[in-house]
């Protein structure tokens, strides 16, 4: 789950890291009040889950509360990359002496979180790492042992930062590492981490992302501290009707798993495919042989007839779909006969002839003899494991090209 900036700032604050006295506002009036409380120049920032706010005009500076209200009014109406803001953040305009960068991310090879720190904050860290590697400190932390302040100190000192700056930044990076682990984050970043003219350090902006698999056990912070509703799933793009329908069919029945996507696909060959990596392999195979997939889908985990039927129906109902290809890598858990029943039922219920509509059925494995009997009965073309995934995809493509 990705967080809005005002939520990320709150997460940082809860971990004991200093932040400025910011306000989250949903109306111009609220923004005026927040600016009055701050009592000085302010920054008004759009709260959207997308980058490029500054460029789009989603960040404005104000000297007075009235000006803050005016900016808030404009920004609240401003769409950025297709996203409308959920509000604005009103922040004091900080007197910055120096900007730093602090983050914690996963290192999948080391299988440990990695702390990163730079004394060149405010800009793209990847660029800093490439051009000024000596200005980026790195250090892994244990998944089991407590994070020691000294570990953060080592990472910061490696960039050449010393004196009171080192001593002030150290607990911030250590706290960031602890919150990363405790809150199941996959990204915890403060950029910029600012040293103000009075020598104090504050997080001026933060990016946080929590692992989806852990959302269920982080209820305390999500519901109680941040007030995020259970149904708030934060899609970073808007799902299509096809995607929403497939999701609903999947949720209605606990047996098996289906997943449907059509973002970026608009072909005429519907795909009911699966078994883990089989769907990736088959989508490539269809495209490489000149086929145009109408969707990407996955079916597996021994689905019910209703689920297989539901997915096939949604695929068939898509604009431009003429035929469907039903293909999987060799299955051991999913039953071939059940999938066959499901896809044939989908054709019949939509008034289509299964023999004409199903370009190819290639699911070898569990209960395949029973499946083949059903397919024979309806005259559907099928093949066994001696026909590779590549060739099965090729047959489907040839059939649909022959048809149109």
């Amino acid at each position: 789950m990705i967080f809005y900036e005002y939520e990320a700032r709150k997460i940082v604050e809860l971990a004991g890291i200093p932040v400025t006295k910011y306000g989250f506002c949903q109306t111009a009036d609220e923004a005026r009040k927040a600016a009055e409380e701050i009592g000085g120049p302010t920054v008004i920032k759009s709260q959207v889950l997308t980058g490029g706010r500054m460029k789009a005009g989603g960040v404005q500076f104000a000297d007075t509360p009235d000006e803050a209200a005016k900016h808030a009014e404009d920004i609240l109406k401003l769409e950025i990359n297709g996203h409308m803001p959920v509000g604005v953040l009103v922040d004091p305009k900080a007197e910055i002496k120096q900007e730093y960068y602090a983050s914690v991310v996963w290192d999948g090879t080391a299988k440990k979180p990695l702390m990163l720190f730079s004394d060149m904050g405010g800009i793209d860290i990847e660029q800093v790492a490439e051009e000024h590697p000596d200005h980026v400190g790195r250090g892994h932390i244990s998944n089991i042992l407590p994070v020691g302040d000294y570990e953060a100190k080592q990472v910061i000192a490696a960039t050449g930062v010393t004196g009171s700056q080192l001593n002030r930044a150290t607990p911030i990076l250590a706290k960031l590492a602890r919150l990363f682990r405790e809150n199941d984050m996959i990204l915890a970043e403060i950029n910029p981490l600012a040293e103000l003219t009075d020598g104090s350090f504050v997080a001026l902006d933060a990016h946080m992302e929590m692992e989806e698999e852990a959302v269920g056990r982080q209820k305390n912070i999500l519901r109680k501290e941040l007030g995020i509703a259970e149904e708030d799933t934060r899609d970073t793009y808007v799902p299509s009707d096809f995607e929403k329908n497939v999701k609903a069919i999947d949720a209605a029945d606990h047996r098996g798993v289906i997943q449907g996507k059509d973002h970026g696909f608009d072909g005429n060959l519907g795909l009911v495919i699966g078994a883990g990596g089989g769907s990736l392999t088959l989508t490539d195979a269809v495209r490489n042989q000149g086929g145009k997939p109408a969707n990407y889908s996955e079916i597996g985990g021994n689905p019910s007839v209703a689920k297989a039927c539901g997915l096939a129906k949604e695929v068939l109902k898509k604009d431009g779909v003429e035929k469907i290809a039903v293909m999987m890598s060799i299955v051991s858990n999913t039953r071939v006969d059940i999938v066959a029943r499901g896809v044939i039922k989908a054709c019949l219920e939509l008034g289509k002839d299964p023999a004409e509509t199903i370009a190819i059925f290639r699911i070898p494995g569990a209960w395949e003899d029973e499946g083949n009997k059903i397919l024979d009965h309806y005259g559907v073309e099928y093949c066994d494991r001696s026909v590779s995934l590549w060739d099965a995809a090729g047959r489907a493509v040839a059939k649909i090209q022959g048809a149109s």
Partner: protein, 303 residues
């Protein structure tokens, strides 16, 4: 020979009374695997296909009378970490974690704990491993009669991020007369117990294995790690790789996630195109089509 498993390997099933676990236990027993116990807290005294059920791993070890080699862990995600640590604390050295949707922080913790105890984790989110006609540990290949169709003993070591594709590829190697030495479904998550590179030394030491086939997907640095391993270790084993999900490199697919949790393409570095370049630079053959794998292996082994 084989890697990690042999005909004498003993193991338990943690979470044995669950629906999937009951099936899996039968499949493994039918295939000839030695399951010496099962664990489900609160179910002491029951049996699953003749396998005694215990409340704790300690009880299973005590009942067996000597160390147990492995455990298949198939308990809900919220309990997996504790189950794995329990197994390792009771002397078990090989863990196959079947469970899906475990937060990666938990996986990383388990791996670090396993490293401290010289134990090895396969998975999570995997189907386990199989030594054809000897034993299998996990749901890999399905029921014994189906597994027998896809897996015949042979010379190729198989490692795959997709459980289903492990069997698909092994089946094609079996059909081509090459057969399989050991096949490992390593799991599709962003952080897993054993990567390709970490399993390579086992295959390298296994006389039966003459070549390696890997199935891989976009996401992560696992292929870069394998390429580095191959270049640094002067491996005797030719490696043939198949990369799925090339369509994800298209502009309009950026930021989308397909298939496994590990396939979210976060940057250019872990895209299919970049991975293929890295693998090929290390002398690993990347085949274009899935059906080209057996021929590519044949070309690279001395027969």
């Amino acid at each position: 020979m084989s890697i990690l498993l042999n005909k004498d390997t003993t193991f338990i099933v943690q979470g044995i009374t669950g629906r999937e676990a009951v099936n899996l236990t039968k499949e493994c027993l039918d295939y000839g695997s030695k399951i010496v116990g099962g664990v489900t807290p609160g179910r002491l005294g029951r049996e699953v296909h003749g396998v005694p059920v215990f409340d704790t791993v300690a009880q299973a070890v005590e009942s067996h009378g000597s160390a147990i080699d492995g455990s298949i862990v198939t308990v809900p995600p919220g309990f997996t970490k504790d189950a794995v640590v329990e197994a390792i604390a009771n002397g078990i050295k090989l863990l196959v974690i079947v469970t899906e949707r475990i937060p990666r922080g938990d996986v990383a913790e388990m791996v670090e704990f396993a490293n401290l105890h010289d134990a090895r984790i396969i998975g999570p989110n995997c189907l386990g491993l199989i030594v054809p006609e000897v034993c299998k540990m996990g749901g890999i290949g399905g029921p014994a009669k189906d597994a027998a169709k896809s897996y015949k003993p042979g010379v190729v070591g198989v490692m795959s991020r997709s459980g289903g594709m492990t069997t698909e590829i092994s089946s094609s190697l079996t059909a081509a007369g090459l057969g399989v030495s050991t096949a490992v479904s390593i799991g599709g998550d962003a952080i897993i117990g054993s990567t390709y590179a970490e399993l390579m030394p086992y295959f390298e030491a296994d006389e039966q294995t003459e070549a390696i086939v890997i199935y891989t997907e976009p996401g992560g640095r696992m292929e870069a790690q394998l390429s580095e391993w191959k270049q640094e270790n002067n491996s005797r084993l030719p490696i043939v790789a198949f990369m799925a999900g090339k369509f994800m490199d298209d502009e309009e697919m950026q930021g989308m996630s397909f298939g496994h949790a590990g396939t979210i393409v976060e940057g250019k570095e872990d895209s299919a195109t970049e991975k293929i370049i890295r693998l090929e630079a290390a002398g690993i053959k990347v085949v274009e089509r899935i059906d080209e794998i057996p021929e590519a292996v044949k070309e690279r082994i001395e027969r």
